[in-house]
Amino acid sequence: MYLKRLDVAGFKSFATRTAFEFGQGLTAIVGPNGSGKSNVSDALRWVLGEQSGRLLRARKLEDVIFAGSSKRPPADKAEVTLTLDNSAGWLPLDFSEVAISRRAYRSGESDYLINRKRVRLRDVQDLLMRASAPSGARMGAGQNSYAIIGQGLVETVLNLRPEERRQLVEEAA
């Protein structure tokens, strides 16, 4: 399983529909300060069900919706879709591609979708928890705290309490 494509629209600084195609190897994201690089990593964290405002650098739900600029009006919703390649059968679904989407409206509502069908947040979380490699090893991604390391947070793993570090090892079990 790997990240195939990320579609972002109205999420943080991505006012218009923007797509990233990922290959299986190493993709670098570069650019000046404040251009929107960390917002990409936030979009990945958000679409996989992240609920923590602190990790998303957003105090309230609508902080993730494009707030407008001097030349563009604010967006009325944020939408992110992550297309995962499932040809190796990590995810327990009969599709070779699985698209997970999340939307947030200014009204405070939010939607989750799997392959364009509306589901609950629990369903997205369950799907990711049940993912496992064909060899049986459990997936360490997404929900796992070491799959996405935010800016300035790499040292957090050293500052955890001993029982929190235990959880990291358990997730790798």
Partner: protein, 159 residues
């Protein structure tokens, strides 16, 4: 349950020592159970000792040494339980040139099994990437994305 935990703990601890030694050219990095008697609830402590130095607390490591030690633990976890993907946001910011080189070598190795998305300002990290996306702020203060080749990047520290 704790049989599996014990086996995984052993693997991660071994990987942590290996990556640490590859990054620092020696020394020791250890994971220690806080309570060896009770595997079900024991926590995990960390100690890191760069080569030639006395064992001190993690707080006395330098900024770059801390980042490198954290990456060693992260890579040990990824090696033990290969995650399909991993996103790293400027984990190489505090590293000097030589350490960026060691980080990149380990990254390239792991990228054979795990897909990486790496946000960075460091040229050495960009140079080993299979694909490069350039993000910029348009005149309308909204982010734009452009697929880049290495030749498009300005010389010097970074893109």
């Amino acid at each position: 349950m704790h049989k599996r935990f014990e086996a995984t703990f052993g693997q991660v601890a071994e990987g942590f020592e290996q990556y640490f030694q590859a990054f620092f050219g020696g020394g020791h990095a250890r994971l220690v159970l806080t309570d060896g008697e009770n595997l079900n609830t024991a926590g995990v402590d960390i100690s890191a000792q760069p080569p030639g130095k006395r064992l001190q607390s993690l707080a006395q490591l330098s900024g770059g040494e801390k980042a490198l030690t954290a990456v060693a633990l992260l890579f040990a976890l990824l090696q033990t339980s290969p995650s399909p993907f991993c996103v790293l946001d400027e984990v190489d910011a505090m590293l000097d040139d030589a350490n960026v080189g060691r980080f990149v070598a380990a990254l390239q190795e792991l990228a054979k099994r795990t897909q990486f998305v790496v946000i960075t300002h460091n040229r050495k990290t960009i140079e080993v990437s299979d694909a490069i996306y350039g993000v910029s702020m348009g005149l309308d203060s909204a982010s734009r994305v452009l697929s880049l080749r290495l030749a498009d990047l300005p010389a010097g520290r970074q893109a």
